[in-house]
C-alpha cells in the first residue's frame, strides 16, 4: 500500500502519542520527596536559612537559622520537631521561622515528608 503523506503523518503522530503517554504518566506519578520540598524556593525553602552539612548538595545555604545536623539528638521526640516546623512561634514567640503548617505554607503531608527528611540529618 502506498502511503499518502497524511496517513504517514497520522501514523507518526500515533507513534508519538504511544511514546509520550507513558512518559507523562511517569512524571505525574513521581512524587516530591521531603528533600525536594525542603530545597524548593517556593515550598519549604529550608536552605534559605539553614545549612545541611550532612547533605552533599546543600548549595549556598543561608545562615539565619542553626545548621540542620544531628537532629535525632537534638529532637529525641520527633513530634517536637514536627511542632517546630508547623509553627516555631508557638514554642518561641521571637522565632521568625515561617509557620509552615499554621500559615498553610506546606500541606500536612508535605510537612510529614519534610520532617522525615530533616529527622534523618
Amino acid at each position: 500500500m502506498k502511503r499518502t503523506p497524511i496517513t504517514l503523518g497520522a501514523t507518526l503522530l500515533g507513534a508519538l502519542f504511544l511514546y509520550a503517554t507513558p512518559v507523562l504518566a511517569d512524571e505525574a506519578k513521581k512524587e516530591e520527596t521531603g528533600k525536594d520540598i525542603a530545597f524548593n524556593k517556593s515550598k519549604g525553602n529550608c536552605l534559605a536559612c539553614h545549612a545541611m552539612p550532612g547533605v552533599a548538595d546543600d548549595q549556598q545555604p543561608g545562615n539565619s537559622g542553626p545548621p540542620l545536623i544531628a537532629m535525632k539528638d537534638r529532637f529525641p521526640d520527633k513530634k517536637v520537631l514536627r511542632a517546630k516546623i508547623w509553627d516555631a512561634t508557638a514554642s518561641n514567640p521571637g522565632s521568625y521561622m515561617p509557620p509552615m503548617g499554621k500559615h498553610k505554607i506546606l500541606s500536612e503531608q508535605e510537612i510529614d515528608k519534610v520532617v522525615d527528611f530533616v529527622y534523618g540529618l
Binding site: 536552605l47 534559605a48 536559612c49 549556598q60 545555604p61 543561608g62 545562615n63 539565619s64 512561634t89 521568625y96 515561617p98 509557620p99 500559615h103 498553610k104 505554607i105
Partner: protein, 276 residues
C-alpha cells in the same frame, strides 16, 4: 487617697519618661549605636551602600560597575525630562529651592495642611500639576522612576535631613515604625527580622542589608538595567513575604519611608546606583 494620687502622678511621669525615651531622635541614636556594636568595622558613612558595606568583594565589584554605569542613558533621559519645560514654559527646577539641589534630602516631609507625609515623588507630581501637567503614577518606573533617577542625583552628597515636628508628624513616624516591626504575610516576617536583627546574615547567597541607610540611594538599577524605586521596592518586600502589597505611594508605605528616612538622617544621599 493622697498617696494613691501621688502614685498615679508618679506613674504618669514615668510613662511620660518612657514615651520621651522613644522619641524619633532617641530611636535614631539607638539604631546608630546598635549597628556600631553589631558591625564595629563599618563606618557610619558607609551604610549608604547597604549590604555592600558588609562585603568587600561585592563592594569592589560595585565600584568597578559604577565607573561606567550601564544605566547612564536612563539617568540622561531623566535629566532631559527634568530640563524640558512644561507647556507653560516653567521647569521642575522652578518648583524647588536651589533649582532642586538638595531637595530630595528634605523628603519625606510631613505636610500639616494635608495631614500626611509627602514623599519626593509626590513633590515632583505637585510641581507637574501646579504647572498644568498630569501627575505621573508614583509606581510607574518608566515615567516617575526615570525622572527620579536624575532628580534625586541633584541631592548627591547632601545629608538626609528628615524633620519630624508636631504630634501628627510623630504619629506618622510611629505608624511607619509599627509597619517596620510588625509581622506580615504568609511567611510571617517583619522588616526588622531581616533588616535589623538579621542584617549581615545570608539567605542562601543573598546578604541582608541593615535598615540604617535604606533610603539614601534610590532608585537602584538591579542587575544594571532594572530600575526600582523605593516605593516599588516596598511592594517587592511585601510580595516576598507573601503579603498583599499596597499601591506604591500608599499612606502606609509613605510612613514607612518617613520612618526609615528619619533613622538615616545624617547619611549622604547617593542616588541611581547598581544593585545585584
Amino acid at each position: 487617697m493622697k498617696k494613691l494620687l501621688l502614685t498615679l502622678v508618679g506613674a504618669g511621669a514615668l510613662l511620660g519618661a518612657v514615651y520621651a525615651s522613644a522619641s524619633p531622635e532617641d530611636d535614631r541614636v539607638a539604631t546608630v549605636n546598635y549597628y556600631k556594636h553589631k558591625f564595629p568595622d563599618v563606618k557610619f558613612k558607609d551604610y549608604i551602600y547597604g549590604s555592600l558595606a558588609l562585603d568587600a568583594d561585592a563592594k569592589a565589584q560595585y565600584d568597578s560597575i559604577m565607573e561606567f554605569p550601564p544605566f547612564e542613558t536612563v539617568v540622561e533621559q531623566g535629566k532631559k525630562m527634568w530640563e524640558t519645560p512644561f507647556k507653560n514654559g516653567k521647569k521642575y527646577a522652578d518648583c524647588f529651592a536651589n533649582g532642586g539641589k538638595g531637595a530630595a534630602a528634605m523628603y519625606p516631609m510631613f505636610d500639616d495642611k494635608k495631614g500626611e507625609v509627602v514623599i519626593f515623588d509626590e513633590a515632583l507630581n505637585a510641581c507637574r500639576v501646579a504647572n498644568g501637567e498630569q501627575p505621573y503614577d508614583v509606581g510607574d518606573a518608566k515615567t516617575m522612576g526615570v525622572l527620579l533617577s536624575y532628580a534625586r542625583t541633584l541631592s548627591d552628597g547632601y545629608k538626609v535631613n528628615t524633620k519630624i515636628n508636631g504630634a501628627a508628624a510623630v504619629a506618622a513616624y510611629e505608624d511607619g515604625k509599627k509597619t517596620f516591626y510588625s509581622r506580615a504575610g504568609q511567611l510571617n516576617f517583619s522588616c526588622a527580622n531581616c533588616h535589623q536583627v538579621d542584617a549581615g546574615v545570608r539567605l542562601r547567597s543573598e546578604l541582608l542589608s541593615p535598615h540604617l541607610g535604606h533610603t539614601t540611594h534610590w532608585p537602584v538599577f538591579r542587575g544594571g538595567d532594572n530600575l526600582v524605586t523605593l516605593q516599588n521596592r516596598y511592594v517587592g518586600c511585601h510580595k516576598t513575604v507573601r503579603h498583599v502589597p499596597d499601591k506604591p505611594g500608599s499612606v502606609r508605605y509613605k510612613n514607612l519611608e518617613y520612618f526609615e528616612s528619619y533613622i538615616s538622617n545624617g547619611l549622604e544621599m547617593h542616588a541611581s546606583v547598581f544593585r545585584k
